[in-house]
């Protein structure tokens, strides 16, 4: 049941468009070691044929737990699923991501049963959509983050319609992905980690709450017992720092 492209939500920004089918990609898991290859905010002009390189950078991100495998391993696992429905690869991916997605859903207020179901649905979508993953456009964690987010959005609706309202890049000329661009994205990814780790605790906290607890500013302020407006200013400060880390890879 390769459904390459058929059910692809055309709005997904970071998912490769069916037109962006890649050439051969090294799908065997690369050597282990902490590496950092998740994608980076990529400018819309990537995602094209044939030039996706296996990521080889090895940067130890600070603050990572011991079981954080190399993210290029994750990308390779997704590609192994795409290419040969590799269940062992899927199991490895599942062991890393399913418990994290569940943890996120729990933080977002889901019951343990619902959180587990959302983690399951997310991983099922990873399995189904693996062929749409393009490591030059998004790293494994980012891609899975967006899938989990979209599952969560859908689960919060009374009427389920598979929709995530992210438009597909349609107005961009397609350009080959440059090797140095892939490298720049990998570096940028690791800069996000470094910048996150360097954020003052209270700024990191509002960022985490904004991403994982679905809180509006007023709720965060109430919960943290801080004055009105503080969350917004903390968020701004944090985002300024992260933006600086994100830089521009174009």
């Amino acid at each position: 049941m390769r459904r390459k492209g058929v059910d692809h939500p055309i709005w997904h920004v970071i998912h490769p468009h069916p037109n962006h089918v890649r050439g051969s990609v090294n799908a065997t898991a690369p050597a282990s070691g902490a590496s950092d290859t998740r994608p980076a905010p990529a400018s819309p002009a990537f995602g094209v044929a044939g030039l996706v390189l296996p990521f080889r950078r090895r940067i130890s991100p600070p603050g990572m737990t011991a079981d954080t495998p190399a993210s290029d391993d994750h990308a390779a696992l997704i590609q192994a699923i795409a290419q040969r429905r590799d269940r062992l690869a899927f199991a490895a991916l599942f062991r890393f991501f399913a418990p994290r997605v569940k943890a996120w859903m729990l933080r977002g207020g889901a019951s343990p049963v619902a959180a587990e179901e959302l983690a399951q649905e997310t991983m099922l979508a990873v399995w189904q959509k693996a062929a749409l993953f393009d490591p030059a456009r998004a790293g494994a964690s980012t891609w899975i983050f967006t899938i989990a987010r979209n599952q969560r959005i859908d689960s919060l609706r009374r009427e389920r319609h598979p929709a995530t309202l992210l438009p597909d890049p349609v107005d961009e000329p397609e350009e080959p992905v440059q090797a140095d661009r892939v490298l720049a994205m990998a570096q940028q990814e690791s800069r996000i980690r470094v910048a996150m780790a360097a954020l003052p605790a209270e700024q990191a906290e509002v960022i985490r709450k904004a991403f994982f607890e679905d809180k509006v500013h007023a709720e965060i302020e109430k919960e943290l017992g801080i004055p009105l407006g503080t969350v917004k200013s903390r968020l701004r400060l944090a985002m300024n720092r992260l933006r600086a880390a994100l830089g521009d890879v174009t």
Partner: protein, 203 residues
């Protein structure tokens, strides 16, 4: 040339999936035509990926993987069909209601959305004012055709207006062609919007 973009906090809420659906539809309409914002969005999603990696795991039940693998042949859900050809994504696949007159020179077509915001298309004849009201909560407007101006500038196709509190100048559709926008707000409800139209245009 797009020159008006969503704020960082709005884009962050969109990336995190916490923007109410109607507002997310308006934001997505802008992002679909704005490579700068897609770039910003992808950066925020990468932050989300990094944060996801760093979350302390929460164990699933022992048979979770086996249960999932038993479903390995399920097809992925299909996209909703295009129901509004001619509108940019995601509006082309979003159910819309019928057009309602909301006064002289303005029509309103609600979007079917869930959550704490309402939204829809608004079509305003040249020289007529668009509704704007919310000092409570977020309001987003994305221009699809034509243009409008308010105290903060001129908004053409693709531009997104995210007014800060206390706007003095109501937006007015520019001369020339009618202005078609998609608009969503956490503030006033549709009934209020109709009430606004009635006050504004005396219908």
């Amino acid at each position: 040339m797009i020159s008006h973009h969503p704020s960082e906090t709005t884009l962050l809420a969109y990336a995190a999936g916490s923007l109410p659906e109607a507002l997310a539809i308006v934001a997505a309409t802008h992002i679909g035509g704005c490579s700068a914002c897609r770039h910003r969005l992808e950066g925020l999603e990468a932050v989300g990926g990094v944060l996801l990696d760093a979350l302390p795991p929460s164990a699933l039940s022992d048979d979770a993987l086996d249960r999932l693998l038993a479903r390995a042949d399920e097809p992925a859900p299909a996209l909703p069909p295009v129901v509004n050809a001619g509108l940019p994504p995601p509006l082309d696949r979003v159910p819309l209601g019928r057009w309602w007159p909301i006064g002289v020179g303005a029509r309103w077509r609600p979007v079917q959305a869930e959550g704490a915001a309402w939204g829809g298309l608004i079509l305003v004849q040249p020289g007529r004012a668009l509704p704007r009201h919310g000092h409570d909560g977020l309001e987003l407007t994305c221009v699809l055709k034509g243009a409008f101006s308010d105290g903060s500038g001129r908004y053409g196709p693709g531009d997104l207006s995210e007014p800060q509190a206390d706007h003095d100048h109501p937006p007015v559709a520019a001369a020339g062609e009618p202005c078609l926008c998609v608009i969503a707000s956490e503030g006033m409800r549709l009934r209020g919007l109709l009430g606004w139209g009635q006050r504004m245009f005396g219908i």
